[in-house]
Symmetry: C5
Subunit: 353 residues, 5 copies
């Protein structure tokens, strides 16, 4: 089931910022990675505790802190304290059903969105990802190990390209861009899927098509619900004046907005396509019914009169002169052939055959 | 029936602010509670009359006045007189069918909204709740005893957390937040309900499904009608500059707005889902009809020709040479098997079987 | 038929402001009433001519002039001349199909709208009402005698309440408010009506339901066409700065706007409800068809094989050994019972029975 | 066919302003009329050539130049040269499929719109009309002789009314108003037509109704496509500050805007009505099918069992004791009556009869 | 299949501006054409390499550089380096699935759009075209040889008209205008196609109509997806102040905007038409089913009773007095005729025949 309900939420009436993770944790440990780089060098380490990590922070480097696992609320709290993050922002990090949202504070930029990936079992797997961009650091919060950022880690280690030369805002862009690029894989897969359904429909193979169309529609709705709010947040980003993001990085965010625009247009097209396929299915269903009914009617129109004639000469009246005629039987058979023939002819004329 | 009609309204032509409660009162008494607190201490009491309560008010404390029961118009009037409330605002407090609305006056902020709760009998129970936020007081008006604020009362008594340290505007936020949190319970229940319907549909168990889909749709419409206007009012609140609400409380109202945004998005998704389920139901219905018709046609196509053949040899012509043949009967039986077999074969070929 | 066509309109090509009333007059006389009041006293009289009425006008009083009957164009013209009204405004007074519209001139405010009332014959009766608010006067134009303002006339005579103490702008508000209050009666009646239809549908009593749904939908469209433009005009009024309306009367117009907002929300909900009912009707129809078809198929599936068997043993072959068996007949009867039984069993298994 | 395709357009790739009229000319000559008037006198003449007409122009009079026939491009070009018209405006005059558009230049105002009239053959005939309003002149371009302006010509000759006293801008308004007034005749005719269809539907006379509904819908779409863009252009006109139009003429254009607003509201209502009628038709169709199927099922339910019973006693077994009973035949007949009777009773109980 | 998926896109996670052309190149070479012209003369040449072409550039002429073939990324890169183009713009040139987009930089204007042409095999062929307008140059990038610009090349060589006298911005307009003109050919073809489908539907020839309607709808969606974003980009162009485009060229871009507006209106109309045709198809289908069912019911209603009567007198009871009557057989035949006759009469009365 794709349209997952909001399972994590504070109990009604609890004060805001009371950080409670009520969801079944998707993994039972928290792993903290710290990547630090300048144009010259890069180092990455797995930290055992938040404090150990915080001690290592170096204001002359770009510090990328990645937290996998949200169930240990104290980790979030100590990070929040150290970087002076608003309690409601911390709540949003934990609120795994929060919609995509960009929040612009004085000392940091907060973005929460969904990392979507193809999943064989459920169709689409989603993970709640939050990013905190500060002056010399970027913190990413994920629900569990494993993400789509490996190409970026590789790029950092190789040291080629703009990535190492730029600040944390560019890393922020690259992570966002990578997540959005993965959205394309999902819309592509959905489009492939719908094309297959279209072919099945055109070949009149209707079994199970309703269920598949419903699944496709739910995927489309799911993607729209994640992509369109993010697009709107990026639109805001374009219009605002954010000091933490340098001007020449800004145009890259414009590019991400373009991609989200393209994605939402594609989804619009897929919505129209699904509607058309449903109409095609209805027409096909109705057409099939017509064929079935015609077949039935043809049988009835031919055999009912014939059976009636046979019935007449099966009556046991003592005086039925035809029964005694020498050619009675062949004449009746001939009459039957004529009746059946004229029925067939009439239906050919009406284009039923 | 969910879409309740506006029962309470002044008779056409009556002057505005003529406070008349024409509805059958849901309870026959008015109860007045007064909770007063500072960071240091908290006291709460049940007052016998408005005057007694007004005497106790203390400008150095936060005074939370809760009125349960709206049928005694004089209570509303004397409160209105004491706090200098506009007659139209008083009318809105009594007008139990009023839409969610925020009204910003010089000396107070007025908010009216619906407190919604799950109800086993009617599906959703609603109660008209109004709040008046003044400088050192918050007045809440409810239709009857029993509400969703118990967690807040407990929080006040425990004295932990921000609640006791902040002004009436924060209490105002917390009450609003609690009401909105309860909306989530309803959308969750609706979503559960629709998922069950989806499963029934996918298993082709269609009995009573139309009625249940209609009920689901009406719940969805009902929730939309309460949530979307409230969202719009909160959007206005975010944009206005209200002196009675401190700046650092304001961000909490932004959070409420986010929740309402999330809720309305969820309802949008549920609307799409209901539409999809209706289409699925139509397709299932149509499919079932196809199966029924096919069965009928198969029977007709096999037995009509056979019965005709039997009818032919039941005719009583004196000269029917086949009747006298030694192998006549077995040959005809064989012919019947062949006819039936070719029909079955043809229908297998057409994929009807 | 509710969606009445624009019968009154000047002939194409005629100059504007050429006042011609081409409609069949709904009454054959014009009656002119003048009500004059101050806080101290009130007088009301029926005037024989416009001139007589104009002479009586007193700038120190509020003068409410009510004109019933529009066919006598000269009445409108002389009033227009006296109060210096723009010819196009006069045309709008006569143009009984004009949409609700508020027009703000230097020396007067013009509002035209529809007075709607429940009518047993036609469902809803409409009357074109125009109001001209000047400095010390309010002129109302109606198509015929009889209106919804009796409660206000009574209020004026009783002399209690704000009405007598305030200026013409407050009277203007009260008349408008009364008309809008009557809209509620119509939406309530429509809602009742739709609830009845819903019950009929849930009980599968479908006769004549299409026609009734169509009538309901047309009523809903009709109400929307009158209420939504009026709401938009009132929204404009709220935003504009009109000298003729005092500031403390303005908040009352805000209240009228709220009511119109509520009404249009209710109509939105009714529109969704009607759509749902139509879908329910389609599902019920389709369901009924399914039941009919199943019944037919059950009969065919049981009796076609049986009749065939009987037909076989009705054949007249000379050598049909079964016919001569001692237990032939009972065995065949038993076979028939078995065939019928297995059919019934199969259909029970398929949940058709 | 109403939705006429854009036949006239320059060949792709040709430069703009290259005036080519590729359409089959609707008339093979160009007629040029010049009407000149002041408050004192009026003269009108048919000119043989553009040059002759241009020589006659008098800056102290209002000069109304009417060109019927667009195929002679040189006429348009020489007018364009004389009055200094932009080449793209000239192209729009010839582009007979251009949408309604108002263009405001320094020395002239350009308006192009469609003159629509009822036509017995095609339903609606359209003619592309353009107007150029200059300081002392108004030029109208029409595709062929014959228009809706005769009432205005008469008004000019009679010399009564505002028309002769005002400038060209007022003439511009009157022509526009006349064209818009004719739109009403078409929406009225459409409304009549739909009401007839509704009655046919309510009487269940469904033959050819689909085609008529389609025609109605296409007319509605056609009218919307012409009226709504014109409404938007008039809205712009209201907001702009155009020197060529005097302030007291401006309010008349506001009146035209109101009419267009009313028309588009009416069309909105007609659209809803058409949708409702289509739904009614579907319900009627489905209802009719239900009746047909019920009839069939009733026949089958009654006669299949009876025929089976008759078949049983038509079997030729040697030992069938019933056949030899004295009352065998009447008993079987009675049994048949009982079976038929109980079927009828059951169906009455199920409300099928 | 029209709704082509985005095949070309950088691998998720790759840095922006990393120019990789992953699509199967549509042609295996890159051809570079340079056209240089002033009012006096024109020269055009096919260049072997970018460097050779860049050397020839002359700032005193208009330089139109046309690149056919995008797979050779180094060509794009060296052009980008020479003219100082932003890496993201270069990426957009290669990104063949990019939506229409106008980008306004300091030293150049970038426009990317789709060149659409009728194609016999696929219906519509699309080609990704990008244009870079600089101070004295215009660069066009196409996917392969062959385009719609031949008329413009001819116009340049002939030297007549505005084209040679104006700057690169006018050439930019003419190329854009030509592409948009070709969109008309496609909407015209679609309109023709839909009219044919309408005729087929009105003649009740329903075979394959669903598939053709789906194809039409997909074409319409495809055109909308290309035309509407381009219209919005042109709207922006109208509102911005772009130094590279002279003021008197600007009005020509307004004309292109008008055409795109017209096209999107036409597509809106076609969308409505397709919906109507689908409804017509459903009504026709339903009608046809009704006819089939009626035929069946008529046969059943006539022959079931007759066959039953024949069956009764085919029973073998020893005592069936009718069988021995002299006129028994003719009387039964007469009875049969009466039964059949009354059935026919009843159905005529019910208007089923």
């Amino acid at each position: 089931m794709i349209l997952t309900r909001s399972i994590f939420r504070k109990k009604p009436g609890l004060p805001p910022g009371s950080l409670v993770y009520t969801r079944d944790p998707v993994q039972d440990y928290v792993s903290i990675q710290l990547v630090q780089y300048t144009e010259e060098d890069v180092s990455s380490s797995e930290e055992s505790s938040v404090d150990a990590m915080l001690k290592k922070l170096d204001k002359n480097k770009v510090n990328w802190i990645n937290i996998n696992g949200l169930h240990n609320v104290s980790v979030i709290e100590s990070i929040g304290k150290h970087f002076d993050i608003h309690p409601l922002v911390l709540e949003d990090i934990l609120h795994t059903e929060h919609m995509p949202k960009l929040d612009h504070h004085d000392n940091y930029v907060f973005l929460t969105l969904k990392m979507l990936r193809h999943d064989n079992k459920q169709g689409i797997s989603q993970e709640h990802v939050s990013m905190l961009l500060g002056n010399h650091y970027l913190i990413t919060f994920q629900e569990k190990d494993g993400d789509v950022f490996d190409a970026i880690r590789e790029g950092l280690n190789n040291g080629t390209g703009r990535l190492r030369r730029r600040k944390a805002d560019y890393l922020f862009y690259r992570l966002l861009d990578t997540i959005v690029d993965h959205y394309y894989l999902l819309t592509d897969a959905l489009e492939d899927n719908l094309e297959e359904l279209e072919e099945l429909l055109l070949e009149q193979r209707l079994d199970g098509i309703s269920e598949q169309l419903l699944t496709g529609k739910k995927k489309m709705i799911f993607l729209r619900r994640n992509i369109i709010p993010l697009r709107e947040e990026m639109r805001k980003l374009k219009q605002e004046d954010i000091l933490l993001i340098e001007e020449n990085t800004m145009s890259f965010f414009g590019d991400v907005f373009d991609h989200l625009m393209h994605l939402s247009n594609t989804l619009e097209g897929l919505r129209d396509l699904i509607t058309s396929l449903m109409e095609l299915q209805m027409a096909a269903n109705s057409n099939r019914m017509n064929i079935v009914m015609k077949t039935l009617t043809i049988f009835a129109a031919i055999f009912m009169p014939l059976t009636f004639i046979a019935g007449v000469y099966g009556m046991n009246f003592h005086r039925m002169p035809e029964l005694e005629w020498h050619w009675g039987y062949p004449v009746v058979l001939l009459a039957m052939v004529l009746v059946a023939g004229s029925m067939v002819f009439y239906m050919k004329f009406k284009k039923w055959l």
